[in-house]
């Protein structure tokens, strides 16, 4: 095809001079660079791969250099139980919000660094070309920090300090750039950072420490950079920090309100949030209706107690996450096994109570059916088996109370062997 192009005169669509423009030469050099690399990679396919390294070889090498790959090394990686970080419900919520949002803030910060760097690179052509690569690398670093923080079970408190230190590093970099280039432009970026860092920390103390350090940095820089010796920018910096404090205060009060709201709705909830079963309160609300139906239809009320054995041990070994999965699976197993219309509730940490109409089913048979259903859920696959102890009682609502039935069930559960 190209052979015939000889005959076509004077460029089909674009002038021949396009080929001499700088951007075209840069593009062609970039393509040349890429192409040579890809040729190299293509030729490298001729280099034979060695055989796969067998784990036994790795172990023998590790043993020879005296490195012990002990099983203990992995234990710390098992997810740590997620407990509230503070007894104060307000502080606990603040920290859990910080825990979720600081990684996001890092990711967004990385994005902003990226965009600013690209924008300034495209608009200000004359800049040094290594600088944008360095800035992009800085953006990438922030993104990677976001990755690391969001995966590991790092506490909110630690994240706050990582965020404060990163903000300080960023602001100091801008101070340094201002000093290096004898320019005030980086200080403008520093002011933006000084306004924005505090609402993300969600705590006063680290914010104030960082604010003091940043202010000192600004004072020092305004001495070193020409044009702002009179301290005007220090005044602006104080303003920026105060604006940040206002945002921080607004966020804190919003979160505190949320904490209040939360504790109120917890008190009102009729559903257990983890499993979706009725909560203790939910069951107690529905019991009078059940009792009334039983009396009207001349039936008794049966109460079944399901107790998950060894949940504490499971939590201890595999983290609370596993315990949660067990509870969910046991709830699903109970829900599919008991009769339609029975009220299934999560009564306590590892106890489910089911109330329904009719006589009490055989506890042993029910236990076996639950055990099968749990096995079908597969939740304990590859782990120590999960046992659910079952006890069942029934009584006429006119003759007994729910309380009495429940304690009867609890007593018969205690009487079971192995309990």
């Amino acid at each position: 095809m190209s052979v015939f192009a000889i005959a076509i005169p004077a460029g089909i669509l674009l002038p021949q001079s396009t080929l001499n423009e700088t951007w075209f030469i840069v593009l062609s050099t970039v393509v040349a660079f890429n192409t040579i690399i890809y040729v190299g990679l293509t030729l490298s396919k001729l280099i034979p791969w060695p055989r796969q390294i067998h784990p036994a070889q790795v172990r023998s090498v590790l043993a020879r250099i005296g490195f012990k790959n002990a099983p203990e090394a992995a234990v710390s990686q098992i997810a740590i139980p997620e407990k509230p970080e503070s007894d104060d419900p307000y502080e606990a919520l603040r920290r859990s919000v910080a825990r979720r949002q600081i990684p996001q803030a890092f990711a967004l910060l990385g994005g902003i660094v990226l965009l600013l760097s690209l924008a300034s690179w495209l608009t200000f052509r004359e800049r040094n070309l290594i600088e944008p690569v360095a800035e992009l690398a800085l953006g990438l670093t922030f993104l990677l920090i976001a990755q690391i923080l969001s995966r590991r079970g790092i506490r909110g408190l630690t994240m706050r300090w990582v965020w404060i230190i990163a903000s300080l590093v960023l602001v100091s970099l801008m101070f340094y750039e201002a000093y290096l280039n004898q320019s005030q432009v980086p200080l403008a970026y520093a002011l933006v950072a000084m306004t924005m860092y505090s609402p993300i920390t969600l705590a006063w103390r680290p914010t104030l420490v960082a604010a003091a350090l940043m202010l000192i940095g600004m004072v020092v820089t305004s001495v070193k950079v020409p044009g702002i010796e009179d301290g005007r920018l220090v005044a602006v910096a104080v303003g920026a920090l105060l604006a940040g404090f206002v945002l921080l205060q607004l966020r804190l009060s919003a979160i505190d309100e949320l904490a209040d709201e939360r504790s109120r709705s917890h008190a009102l909830a009729s559903t257990d949030l983890l499993t979706g079963a009725l909560s203790r309160e939910g069951l107690l609300t529905l019991l009078p209706g059940l009792a009334a139906t039983a009396e009207r239809t001349d039936q008794s009320v049966c109460v079944m107690l399901f107790d998950v054995d060894d949940l504490t041990r499971a939590n201890h070994q595999y983290g609370t996450h596993y315990g949660d999965d067990v509870l969910k699976a046991v709830y699903r197993a109970i829900d599919t096994t008991v009769r339609r219309g029975d009220l299934v509730s999560r009564w306590g940490g590892d106890e489910f109570v089911v109330a329904g109409l009719g006589n009490s089913p055989n506890a042993a048979a029910m236990g076996e059916r639950i055990q099968n259903a749990v096995r079908r859920e597969g939740v304990g696959l590859g782990k120590a088996p999960i046992n659910v102890a079952v006890s069942t009682v029934a009584g006429l609502p006119s003759e007994t109370t729910f309380d009495a039935l429940l304690s009867q069930a609890e007593n018969s559960a205690k009487a079971l062997p192995g309990a």
């Binding site: 190209s2 070309l129 597969g378």
Partner: protein, 502 residues
């Protein structure tokens, strides 16, 4: 056999709460955006570096006037111009960097293979665990193969698959057809062939959910000698697949899984040929890498039962997912996810060249678009669920490689287009002709096994470059979809259509 609802969705009960529009899971969306940001930033950083290089060397280009030459009946202009030596050296440095990265990935994988995680899980299983064999990894005797075939209304293709299975040089010890929400006679066909049928109950999680139910029943009964093969109902195995897989697993007690090398079925014209060429090259690559496989294909792979048990136990502890599920049903591509799960636990895996699988080809560009979007998005989402770990760092590198490939190939195509549109007279550059020849030879040689059609398509170069651009558009579309948290769709080819066309 009738199931509730054709799609197997659990029936809505009278008193169920009305469906509330759910806010999508914040965490997974945030993780998805993070992977997009990391991949895009890495690609941009490399691009910025390349442009910096380009600018630096742009000034050093010395234009040499081309010389007229007579070749046969044509007079052509030839330029002796070659790139500056420094640029070539820098490129060699770039190749060296890629080589160092590849070697370090291999080292990381090797170190990962002695991960103590599975041992830790085994230790926690306690004394009452019936599977004490776990702590002595040496297995004596031969492996026992159980084949699981998940099938959703496969009464047309299942008999073919089962007959093909009977042709294996080493017979499986047990075959279980997992009939998932079938409204046809799939389960009966399995029983007619003398195999077992397992019917899923209330499964709403497709193939992965059905397999999880079957494995929950199967795995507690297995011993250290058991291996499980999972294969699709519409694939056919190479005749020696099971024999070689059993050999490998017997010879090396520490080998965790054997994957298949897949080839495309014939037919479906040009779009089919593109896919077949792609699969041929991939299988050649796996062979050259001595079976270092990127993904244990979902169409046919063999796993040690113990390893699957460990995956189930490790979910929620070391790897994402719900405790006790072998397959993570939240993943778009379960096979890719299971590979990452096994690698995170230090599994070793291989794909011997004899373990071939002939797999289904997407018959139209539209089907291919949907399939590749699911693969690509699944790969990205699985990485975002796992994060950057020792087991996944290689796959992150792969995604950055795809991203930079998009930049490199398209800038080349744009350069060519501009040149063609603006030259007065075409100038030949012998240096670049040699480079082009290397590429053509590579493309043709790597598809040699695919026959004449494959070689001709490869020799034309341009169509395959455009096919690559198609795949790159899929990649970019996936990045955009993940960023804006658009819902992912599953694509399925209707087998009736495929049968009617062929």
């Amino acid at each position: 056999m009738t199931q509730r609802g054709s799609a197997g969705e659990a029936r809505q009960r009278f008193a169920d709460a009305p469906t509330v529009p759910q806010r999508p899971d914040d965490r997974s969306i945030a993780f998805g955006r993070l992977i997009v940001a990391v991949v895009v930033t890495a690609v941009l950083t490399i691009t910025a570096f390349a442009i910096a290089v380009g600018r630096y060397f742009a000034d050093m280009q010395v234009a040499q006037p081309p010389v007229e030459k007579q070749i046969g009946p044509f007079t052509v202009l030839v330029s002796q111009e070659v790139p500056p030596l420094q640029l070539v050296l820098l490129s060699v440095l770039g190749i060296a960097v890629v080589a160092v990265v590849a070697v370090s990935f291999e080292m990381i994988a090797a170190l990962m293979s002695v991960s103590p995680r599975r041992q830790v899980l085994a230790d926690y299983r306690g004394d009452e665990a019936p599977r004490h064999l776990r702590n002595s990894p040496i297995i004596e005797g031969l492996v026992r193969i159980t084949v699981l075939i998940p099938a959703h209304n496969e009464e047309t293709s299942l008999p073919i698959t089962l007959d093909a299975l009977a042709q294996q040089t080493r017979q499986p010890d047990r075959v279980i057809v997992v009939a998932d929400n079938c409204t046809d006679t799939t389960a009966d066909i399995a029983r007619e062939h003398g195999y077992e049928a397992f019917e899923s109950v209330d499964n709403i999680h497709r193939k992965g959910g059905a397999l999880n139910q079957a494995l929950a029943a199967l795995l507690p009964t297995t011993t250290a000698n058991d291996v499980v093969m999972v294969m699709d109902a519409d694939t056919s195995l190479g005749p020696r697949y099971l024999e070689v897989a059993a050999q490998r697993l017997t010879a090396d007690p520490e080998l965790t899984a054997v994957g298949g090398v897949f080839y495309g079925e014939p037919g479906h014209g040009l779009v089919g040929q593109f896919q077949r060429n792609e699969y041929t090259r991939y299988s050649l690559q796996i062979r050259a890498r001595h079976g270092r496989v990127f993904v244990l294909t979902g169409t046919a792979s063999v796993f040690r039962a113990e390893a699957l048990l460990d995956v189930a136990a490790a979910r929620g502890v070391y790897i994402p997912g719900e405790a006790g599920k072998v397959y993570d049903t939240a993943a778009l591509t379960e096979d890719n996810e299971l590979t990452l799960a096994l690698k995170s636990l230090g599994a070793t895996m291989t794909s011997p060249p004899e373990c071939t699988v002939t797999t289904e080809i997407m018959p139209t560009w539209k089907n291919l678009w949907v399939q590749r979007k699911r693969w690509q998005r699944g790969a990205l989402e699985n990485l975002s669920a796992y994060g950057i770990t020792r087991a996944t760092v290689r796959y992150w590198g792969q995604q950055v490689g795809i991203g930079y490939g998009a930049v490199a190939l398209n800038s080349f195509l744009i350069l060519m287009l501009i040149t063609v549109l603006s030259v007065d007279t075409w100038i030949w550059f012998p240096f670049w002709l040699v480079v082009g020849a290397i590429f053509i030879v590579e493309r043709v040689v790597t598809t040699w096994r695919g026959g004449w059609k494959a070689r001709i398509l490869a020799a034309l170069i341009l169509p395959e470059l455009l096919y690559d651009v198609f795949l790159q558009i899929v990649f970019i579309k996936c990045l955009i979809d993940i960023t804006f948290a658009r819902r992912a769709r599953w694509g399925h080819v209707q087998h009736a259509n495929a049968a009617a066309e062929s």
